[in-house]
Structures are given as structure tokens and as C-alpha cells.
């Protein structure tokens, strides 16, 4: 037992001999929870996960004997937790619309009965190691929860429960450890959030994460098991893009961590997610989703903890052999929480007030992503997508610049594009992906071998148009040659017809890789055909006025992914649209005055 010596914001100085750094403490009459962050002789400094108003020097404090841990077992999916894994729905039932301090609710419901099916390979007397699958629980229609032996346990299985209904309180197995101690296992176990869960070995990431967002999948791919960042100033559509990824990506489990973000935005997520259907199974999306929500007005220390809670939950599903995507929104808010606490500790600030350990903490966090061979010998992956909110959109600030060095895929959002309502506002010049080579193999095997070259060609076109645009801004479009104007127009077609994608248009919200490639190839073909004509002497103006150019921009909305046939029919008709002009300019002896009208003959 210890006592409170001093209270300063979320930091509390305690007299607490023999505590260790990281230990959980319960403080004061109302029983606020926190963790020890430093120790000096008999005094310890603890940061509390809740507002400290009302705490009084002299009140009691006790060490709980374990570090900040999460409960891992059935009941996770579909749940919404706060930054220290308190289930928000259950907290609401207990304390009403507002979060009362000191409220204590177990993370996983203790009374729910789960139907446990033991793994037939496990028998009494057989040897067990951490990570082995004891059995399964069909947690939701979509996901079978594999009950794992906690990573650090190994020994002889003495007893395994038969098939039947169990609560989390029931013992389902007994294991005799090497030292003779008998360990009782339940459907769930605990794991400290700041310690990465062990695995056998790291594997190469091989398959792209398909998000259905054209600018991401086609231009800046991310692999399952990869690390990505979405930096963007406020108002650049970061949240919308993340929600699109969460909604459509082809991972088996999705974990969304709202770290210090807007309450209303979380509500939006909490309201729309349960209504969404999983595009891959047709069942509610929540069956494979769980959320950690710590809005900006919730205590700062819990905000700092929330991304570790999220990533530990992700690793747990990875260890069951699943592909997991975790979206952390936003890592800047996390870094600011770190800064806020370090400021109160009086740490010497380095850049913009951030502590010197910002970079190493960020790197260590992102390293918890990856595709691994699990302890049980299966493949699982954690893909980590962290959003970054650079102050004033300045990408040279510490959090963005550190993150840029760490991640392989960088989806840079641009305020200029967002201002022009070009969504998703992913800037094709600033963004990069280090996974193009690996992704190219997948596209070549599954979609089309020309993907890599088509992608490069489109990016070149966009880059060229950017330079031309600068010229236009100076001297006007009339100063460009026809070839240059056509390049500009082709790039515009790619921007409007391919890169812009509406999240709220049902036909456009998600594009399969087939549709993505079909559109890309079609626009490049238009570019080629037009360029050929321009070289024959056709003025770019006439090409730009072709009805095809306006029509092609609407194809993405007119043909949902399941209507590839309709889209392909339009694509097949592209050469017809150019035919009249081609006739005219390959046979210049017979100029047609009605040439412009004739190009209107193509279908709409």
C-alpha cells in the first residue's frame, strides 16, 4: 500500500515502494487506474488514464502487480473499447451517457456462453506449446475464433474440456508446465500491450491489400503485412479515405483505432459500420471488425495507450492465422499525447516540443506490422495504416518526417486537391509505394501482365501534365502545342475518370482490380489514339471536343464492378469514336467540314 504525495494534471506522485515501471496502480478513494512511468527510491510517478480532479494528497494508492494488459478471447469482435479496453457499451449501461470516473467493467463479457469445439489433435498427455490451437469458437458467422495457448506456456496437456458451452470463467484446459506447476487455461488470456506477441519467423509479404480505391490499389499499392501512412492536413479527406479502406479492404479482420479524434466522427463510424455489409461475405461488417475509440476529449494518457491496445488485439488475430488490417487515426494525436506527458515530466524537448524518443517509439510501433509464420505454424499478417495530421499540412514536421522514413507506402493527401473537391485527395506526385515490384507479380498473375507498365505510363503522363500546367499558369493554354494540349487533356481524363472516386456513389465506391485495370487501359488507349491523330495534324481542340471525352469520365459511375461486360463494351467502341477523324486526317485530300459532328456518333 502506498499514498498520494502530489497531483499535477494526469501525473500523480506516489509513495509506493517496490513498484516496477509499467505496473498498473489504483489510486485514491474513487479508484482511478494508471501506470507507473518512473521511480526514484520509495517514490514513483504514475500517469492516470482518467481525470484526476478530486484526488487528494494522503489518499491511498496500490500497485496491482501487472502491466497494462488486454483480454484476448471470444467477445472481441463487434465490440467498441476505449483506450484501455473498457467496453464502451457496457460502460454506458453502467454509468450513463457520460463516462464516470473509476467505473470498472471487464473488457470481455463474463456471462456469455460460447460453444467450444476442442481441437481433435489435442489429447490428454500430448505436449503443448504457446500459440497452439486448443479448439475453436464460432464467434460470429464470419469469423471462427481460435482459442490459443498463451504464448509463454508450454508443457503437458492434462485435460481439455469436451465440446460444449462455456463462459470465460470456465477452465477449459489444464497444463502441467515443465517446472511442475499446473496452469489452468480459459477461453481468454491476457497479454501486456507494450510487449509484441511472439511468432516463429517473419515472412515476405506477397499479396496486395485490395481496397477498391483506384489511386491506392493501382498506383500506390500496399501489401498485406505492410506499413502505410496517410498524412494530410485537416479537411483533406483523411477520415473518409480511412473509412473507405476499413469498409472495402479484403482483410479478414479490421481493427479501427480512433486515437484522439472527433467524437462525432467516431459516432459516424459507430453508426454506419453496423449497417454495412461485408462486400466479401454479404454479412454485417461488424462481424469482422472491432474498434478502439478514444475521442479527443477523453483522457490523454489513455490516448497514448490506445494504439498499443489496438496493435496487440491485431497481433492476437494474426496469431490465429488471419490477415488483419489496423487503421490508427491518428498517430499525430498519439505523438501529441506523448509530448503532453513528457512536457509534464519536464523532459527536454527536441523538435517542436516532442521528446527525443519520438522517432524510436514510432519505429518500434510500426515494426509490429508484418506477415509472420505464427507459433502454430500458420501464416498471418498485420497491415498497419497510420494516419498523420501534420500541423498546417507541413510534411517536414517531426511526426510526418519520422513516419515517412519508416513506412513503405505513403498516401499523401493534398489540401489543394481537396479544395478543388478532387477526392480521394491523394497526391500522385508526393505519394510513393515501395511494394510496386511485389504487387506487380500479383497483378500479372491475377489481372493483366501489363499492369506495371501501364501504371508507370499513367504516372509519367500525370507528371508531364504537371509541368505543362505550370507553363499554362504562366502563359495560358493557347501557348501549348497540340501534342502538349492532348497530354494535358489525357492527364485530366485520368484524374477525373480514374483517380477521382466517389465514396457515396454506390457504383463507384469500390472498384475491383479488373475494373481498375480496364479503366486505366482504356484511358491510355484514348491517349494513344488521340496522340496518333495529333501527330497526323489534327488539332487537339477537335479531339477534346469529342463527346467520348465527356462520356469516358462517367464510365466509372455507370458501370459498377459487377458490370465489367458493359464497361468492356464501351471500351471496345473507343476506336470507332476516333474513326471519323482518323479518316479525315489520313486522307487529307477530302476534308470533311462536318468532322466534329461526325464524332458524336459514338454511343453514350
Amino acid at each position: 500500500m502506498g499514498i498520494i504525495l502530489e497531483v499535477n494534471g494526469p501525473l500523480v506522485k506516489l509513495e509506493l515502494p517496490q513498484t516496477v515501471i509499467g505496473e498498473q496502480v489504483r489510486v485514491g478513494r474513487i479508484g482511478l487506474i494508471g501506470e507507473v512511468i518512473s521511480r526514484d527510491g520509495n517514490t514513483a510517478l504514475a500517469q492516470l488514464y482518467e481525470d484526476t480532479a478530486g484526488l487528494c494528497p494522503g489518499e491511498e494508492a496500490e500497485g496491482l502487480g501487472w502491466p497494462l494488459s488486454v483480454e484476448l478471447g471470444p467477445g472481441l469482435l463487434g465490440a467498441i473499447f476505449d483506450g484501455v479496453q473498457r467496453p464502451l457499451q457496457a460502460v454506458r449501461e453502467k454509468s450513463g451517457d457520460r463516462i464516470a470516473r473509476g467505473v470498472s467493467v471487464p473488457a470481455l463479457p463474463r456471462d456469455t456462453r460460447w460453444h467450444f469445439v476442442p481441437n481433435p489433435e489435442r489429447r490428454a498427455g500430448s505436449a503443448l506449446v504457446g500459440g497452439d490451437v486448443l479448439g475453436t469458437v464460432q464467434e460470429t458467422e464470419s469469423i471462427q475464433h481460435r482459442i490459443l495457448v498463451p504464448p509463454l506456456i508450454h508443457g503437458e496437456l492434462l485435460e481439455l474440456a469436451p465440446e460444449g458451452d462455456h463462459t470465460l470463467k470456465d477452465v477449459i484446459a489444464r497444463v502441467k508446465q515443465a517446472d511442475g506447476r499446473i496452469e489452468k487455461l480459459h477461453l481468454f488470456h491476457r497479454w501486456p500491450v507494450r510487449t509484441p506477441r511472439p511468432y516463429k519467423q517473419r515472412d515476405h509479404a506477397v499479396a496486395p491489400l485490395i481496397t477498391g480505391q483506384r489511386i491506392l490499389d493501382t498506383f500506390f499499392p500496399l501489401l498485406k503485412g505492410g506499413k502505410a501512412a496517410i498524412p494530410g492536413p485537416f479537411g483533406a479527406g483523411k477520415t473518409m479515405l480511412q473509412q473507405q479502406i476499413v469498409r472495402w479492404c479484403n482483410a479478414e479482420i479490421v481493427i479501427f483505432v480512433g486515437c484522439g479524434e472527433r467524437g462525432n466522427e467516431l459516432t459516424d463510424v459507430l453508426e454506419f459500420m453496423p449497417k454495412l455489409k461485408d462486400p466479401h461475405t454479404g454479412r454485417p461488417l461488424m462481424q469482422r471488425t472491432l474498434m478502439v475509440a478514444n475521442s479527443s476529449n477523453m483522457p490523454v494518457v489513455a490516448r497514448e495507450a490506445s494504439i498499443y491496445v489496438g496493435i496487440t488485439l491485431a497481433e492476437y488475430f494474426r496469431d490465429q492465422g488471419y490477415d488483419v488490417v489496423m487503421v490508427a487515426d491518428s498517430t499525430s494525436r498519439w505523438a501529441e499525447a506523448l509530448r503532453e506527458v513528457s512536457g509534464r515530466l519536464g523532459h527536454m524537448p527536441v523538435e517542436e516540443g516532442y521528446p527525443a524518443y519520438l522517432g524510436s517509439r514510432l519505429a518500434a510501433f510500426y515494426e509490429r506490422a508484418g506477415r509472420v509464420k505464427t507459433l502454430a505454424g500458420e501464416h498471418g499478417s498485420v497491415t498497419l495504416i497510420g494516419s498523420v495530421s501534420p500541423p498546417g499540412g507541413d510534411f517536414s514536421e517531426p511526426v510526418t518526417s519520422h513516419t515517412k522514413e519508416i513506412v513503405q507506402t505513403f498516401w499523401a493527401l493534398s489540401k489543394e486537391l481537396a479544395d478543388a473537391r478532387h477526392y480521394p485527395a491523394v497526391d500522385w506526385l508526393e505519394s510513393f509505394s515501395g511494394y510496386v515490384g511485389s504487387a506487380a507479380k500479383w497483378w500479372a498473375e491475377n489481372i493483366d501482365s501489363k499492369w506495371e507498365s501501364a501504371r508507370a505510363e499513367a504516372l509519367d503522363l500525370l507528371g508531364a501534365s504537371e509541368e505543362l500546367q505550370r507553363v499554362v499558369n504562366l502563359v495560358g493554354v493557347e501557348a501549348l502545342s497540340s501534342e502538349q494540349r492532348w497530354t494535358l487533356e489525357s492527364a485530366d481524363l485520368i484524374k477525373e475518370g480514374l483517380l477521382q472516386q466517389s465514396a457515396i456513389d454506390d457504383a463507384d465506391s469500390f472498384a475491383t482490380p479488373e475494373k481498375q485495370f480496364a479503366l486505366l487501359a482504356a484511358f491510355l488507349e484514348i491517349n494513344h489514339l488521340g496522340m496518333k491523330l495529333v501527330k497526323l495534324g489534327a488539332p487537339a481542340r477537335r479531339l477534346i471536343q469529342m463527346p467520348l471525352m465527356a462520356q469516358a469520365r462517367r464510365w466509372k459511375n455507370q458501370h459498377p464492378s459487377d458490370d465489367i461486360a458493359g464497361l468492356k463494351a464501351k471500351i471496345a467502341a473507343i476506336p470507332d469514336a476516333f474513326e471519323p477523324l482518323l479518316q479525315e486526317y489520313t486522307h487529307p485530300a477530302a476534308p470533311s467540314i462536318t468532322g466534329a459532328a461526325a464524332t458524336g456518333a459514338s454511343t453514350s
Binding site: R92, R98, E340, R553
Partner: protein, 461 residues
Amino acid sequence: MKNLEFRTATSAQGGLVVMSDVPGVAAGSRVQLRDHAGRIRSGQVIRTANDTVLVEVFEGTDALDLERTWVRFLDEPFKLPVSRDMLGRVFNGSGLPRDGRPPIISADRRDVNGEPLNPAARAYPREFIQTGISAIDGMNALTRGQKLPIFSGGGLPHNRVAAQIVRQAKLLGEEASEFVVVFAAIGASHADARFFQESFEESGVLNKVVMFLNLADEPVIERLLTPRAALTAAEYLAFDLDYHVLVVMTDMTAYAEALREVAVLRGDVPARKGYPGYLYSDLAELYERAGRIQNHHGSITLIPVLSMPSDDITHPIPDLTGYITEGQIVLGRELANQGIYPPVTVLPSLSRLMKDGIGKNFTREDHPHVASQLFASYAKALDVRGLAAIIGAEDLSDSDRRYLQFAEAFERQFIGQGEDEDRNVHETLNLAWDLLSMLPHDALTRVSEDELAKYHKGVVA
């Protein structure tokens, strides 16, 4: 403890008092100081240890004689008495009357710090609030429960805009009568405070307004309390009495500067531009009190007004605000200099929740597309204007010249409007179509063919 008076103040500086030899005082506890003249000041414990306690005094520490200062610790946080009678009243920043009428008497006293809303209990903002200002209603619409700040600069008419919103804001439909306003002026000049009061009186909305005024020459520390008192009143009106409450807080820059002043005195490590690292969390605690709650009828919609130091939108105050609020209305000097009122710069302005509050069931079916088209066309028009500035308007193509005219008309007629001009959303949308009709059909790709046929007034290109 409540009845003991301590005379152990050892130092005082800039609104902070250090007390020694005080046993166990609770963090955040409210404090009463009695000075040598018998005047009562109030304060709050911001740091507490076994022997020393740090107290911030809302009325400041001027003329405080440490040897003749008696301090009582009230063992409870700062509380505001709340009642329906607050409507029509004017208070100072700590909730005491400043209109010469008696104080509010109520058994119901609320902790001004509030408690965080459980995200699982929130309801998403949806319904449209009409401000009567086209640049807002048409392109950056406000929804019930949203927080939408006005980013302004020194000398720009943000106070006039804020007052116009307060006078004109209304809900569409039958719930119109349940709409009230809580107005907090933080560090406002006497002239501004009088302007607001007179403006509300003249338009007859004063009986639906609760005002909290902290003036520029009043204690800085009280500025930290002013928005909290206002939001506490708003929470009571919204979630106990079922009103739809619009909260206008101006100027949040003065609030943040007060926070910085106190942080420096406390010796907190500064983060950006000398502001403490907890500026974000602190602002979030305020702003996030806006919203709606499931199974409650009322709502809090928040419009914080802040002046950006040297018009810099990347300054920590607007920057951090923008990350907490759902969008921003940006006022611009360029438009203001051309005599356009309200000088709303629409391109950097944004209402994130607009999409859920407009359209078929709320305003009119064409609203989302019209807004998108206005943004796109005006953005294009500004590019053309930039080009014209370099090569001269004579060398522009016909189509570009049309865009120039569009930009001019858009700024004068759509953005610009009278201070007493209350346009309903249909008038705003019709005006938008009048302007869009200056452009040919094929330049309007964000609106549907049907909408073009129905509303476009120009010749078919």
C-alpha cells in the same frame, strides 16, 4: 476543511497563488480568497502536494496582500447554478450576473468541467440549420450538433458575422421555437460586447440568448472559465430542457493566449509557439462538449470564432481547432478589402457534416450537387483570374472570359449579402443556379442531367 481559513499564502504572481502548510487539498477543488478589504475572490487548485498547493485566482492577484489573505478550500469543483431563468440574462465569465439583476438561484449546480461523453452514447448530427447566409448554407452548411469554427483575422468582421448568425439561425420546420443561443465573449472589447448586446436587443432575440461576457480588461484567468461556464449552461439547456442550443464563443485566440499565460507561470514546458503541449487536449475538452446524445431531444451546435494571428491558418490555434472541429468557415482579407460582406473565402472553407444535413429530406434534392459544382467552377474561375493577371484579360478565350464574369458575379451576389439579409435556403440555391447558368452545360459536370434540365437557365450549349 470547508470551514477552515488558511493564511499561509507564500507567493503570488500573475493570477497564481502558492499556499504552504495546507493538508490534503483535492486537485481541482474550488477556492475562496478573502483579501484585506474583505473582497471575495474565487479560484481553483491546479496542483496539490502534501505541503504546497498552487491556486489559480479567477479575479487575478492584483493588490493581494499575502499576509492579509485568507483562503478557504471548498472541497468541490467549480460549479454553475443552472436554471431556465438563465435565458435572457447576461453573466460575467464566472457566471455572476452583470446585468444588475439578482443571481440565479438553483439547487441544481453543475461542475463546469463536465464529463466526457461516451462515444457510444452520441448521436450523429444530421439536420440542417439555416443561417440565412448563402456562403454558409449553400456551400458549408451547418448541421445540428456540429462544431464549425469561424477562422478570421484582426480587423475582419467576424463579430458581425457571428451576430448575424445568432440573429438569423433557425431550424427548418416545426421545431423552430425550441432554438436558443448561448453566447460567450472571451477577452472581448467593451465596444464589441456592447455591439453584441445591442444587436441582440434590437432584433428581439435577447430573451432567447444567455450571455457570458469576459472583457479584455478583466482578469485573464477568468477567460479559462468563461467557455466552460457557457458550455455547462448549454448542456443543461440542451440535455435537461431539450432545447436546440447554438453556442457561439468568441474569441478563442484570447482563450488560448490566457492558457499560455498561465502555463508559463506554472512552468510548463512549451510545445509550439510557447503554447503548452496540452493545448489540443484542452481545446478538445471544450469543443467536444457539442453534439447530440441518443434518446435526448436537444442538441449543442458550436461556432467558436477565432482570429488567426497574422492570418496564418497554420498557427497552432486554428490548426489544432481544425483538427477537432468538423470543418471551418474562413474569412479572407482579400474579399473584405473589396467591400464584400461576409468575406467568406469558400475554397478553404469546409463543413464536414454538410453531406448528412442537406439534400432531399432536409433542404432540396439538388443541394449537394450544386454545392460541389459551385466549388469546382469557382476554383476553375480563380485559376483563370490568376492567368488573366499575367497575360491580361484580352488574351483569354471566350470560355475563360465567361469564367471571369462568373467569379465576379459569384463573389458580389452569392457570397456578398447584406448584414440584415436573411436568405432562406431555396433563395440561396436559386441564386446559385442563376450564377451557374452563366456557364455552358458541358462545363457543369458535377450536377446531373436532370438537374440541368430543371434549373439551368442558360442556352443549351
